[in-house]
C-alpha cells in the first residue's frame, strides 16, 4: 500500500474526515441541547408566572381551585416536552425516530416525577409553611443540577454543561435566600420567575453559541 491515491486523498486525510464527522455530530447535538434549555427557559418561568397570575382567582374557586392548581404546571411541561421532542427530531439525524421520541417522553416524565420528590423533600426540610414560590425556586435549582449532572455523565464531559450547573446553583441559591428571608409571596413569585427564566436563557444561549 502507498500513502497517496491518484486523487491525492491520503489515509491521514481519510482519518481526519472520519474524525470531522464525529465532530459535526457532537456540535449538532450540543447546539440542540442548548436550544432545548432555551425552550425550557419559557417553561420554568411560565409555571410560577401562571400560578402567580391566577393566585387570586384560584383562591376564590374552592375545590376547583385546588384541582386547577394541582394541574396548572401540566400544560407547560407537556409543551416543553413536545417542543423538545420536535427540536431533537428536527436537529438531529436519527435512525429510529419513534423509539427516540418515546425515550424523550419517558425521560421528561422521569424528571417531572423527580421534581415532585425534590419538592416534597424541600418542604420536609424547611417546613410545610414555607413560601410556595421560594420552595419552587429551591426545587427547580436542585432539579437543574440533577439534570446537568445526568447529562454531564451520559453525554458530554468537560465544560459544556458548566453554564447549566451555574444556572442550577443561581436558582437554588436565590430560592434559598427567599426561604431564609421569609420573602413575601409577590416578591418571591416575581423573583423566581425572573431568575429561573433568565438563568435558563443565558445558559442555553451560551451552550448554543459555544456548540
Amino acid at each position: 500500500m502507498t500513502a497517496e491515491t491518484s486523487q491525492g486523498f491520503t489515509a491521514s486525510d481519510a482519518v481526519r474526515t472520519l474524525d470531522e464527522l464525529k465532530g459535526y455530530e457532537e456540535t449538532l447535538a450540543s447546539r440542540t441541547a442548548g436550544l432545548t434549555i432555551l425552550v425550557w427557559a419559557f417553561v420554568v418561568a411560565g409555571i410560577p408566572l401562571s400560578y402567580q397570575g391566577l393566585w387570586w382567582w384560584l383562591s376564590q374557586q374552592g375545590a376547583w381551585g385546588i384541582v386547577v392548581s394541582n394541574l396548572l404546571w401540566v400544560p407547560w411541561v407537556v409543551a416543553g416536552i413536545t417542543a423538545t421532542t420536535i427540536l431533537w427530531r428536527t436537529h438531529s439525524i436519527r435512525m429510529q425516530r419513534q423509539e427516540a421520541s418515546t425515550k424523550d417522553w419517558l425521560v421528561g416524565i422521569g424528571f417531572t416525577a423527580l421534581f415532585f420528590l425534590l419538592a416534597g423533600g424541600v418542604f420536609l426540610v424547611f417546613g410545610f409553611d414555607t413560601e410556595t414560590f421560594a420552595a419552587m425556586g429551591v426545587t427547580t435549582g436542585l432539579l437543574t443540577l440533577a439534570i446537568a449532572a445526568a447529562n454531564h455523565v451520559k453525554y458530554r464531559h468537560g465544560a459544556f454543561w458548566l453554564p447549566f450547573y451555574v444556572a442550577g446553583i443561581v436558582i437554588f441559591a436565590t430560592g434559598l435566600i427567599l426561604v431564609v428571608m421569609g420573602a413575601e409571596r409577590n416578591v418571591a413569585a416575581f423573583t423566581t420567575v425572573f431568575v429561573q427564566g433568565f438563568a435558563y436563557f443565558i445558559a442555553g444561549s451560551i451552550m448554543v453559541l459555544r456548540g
Binding site: 500500500m1 486523487q7 464527522l21 439525524i93
Partner: protein, 111 residues
Amino acid sequence: MDLPPELALIHQPARLKIMGLLYKHGDVGFKDARDFLGLTDGNLASHSDRLAKAGYVEARRVLNRDGFETRYKITKQGREAFREYLDRLRRFLEESEGGGVQRSDCRNVNA
C-alpha cells in the same frame, strides 16, 4: 493507499462522509445529510448517485410533513464495503510507522 476499484470509490472526502454518516445512522434525509455534512445540493446528489450506482446506497422519494424528500439508506453491500474499507485503512495505519496518524481515530465511525 492502494485500494481495489470498488473500495477506491469510497476513498474520496464527500463519499467517505456520506458513507460514514449512513453507516452510523442507516437512513438519512437529503436536507439532514446536506446540512450535516456541509455539502452543496449538487455535490450530495452527484456523489450519492455514484454510490447508488455501485450498489452501496439506495435513494428513495418519501412524502413527509414538508412534501417529498429524497432519503438515502445504506445497503447491506454498502455496509460490508465500508467495513472492509475501514479494516484496510486500519491495517494500513498499523503497518505505517510514524505516519503522524493515531490509529484509534478511525474507530470513531466503526463503533
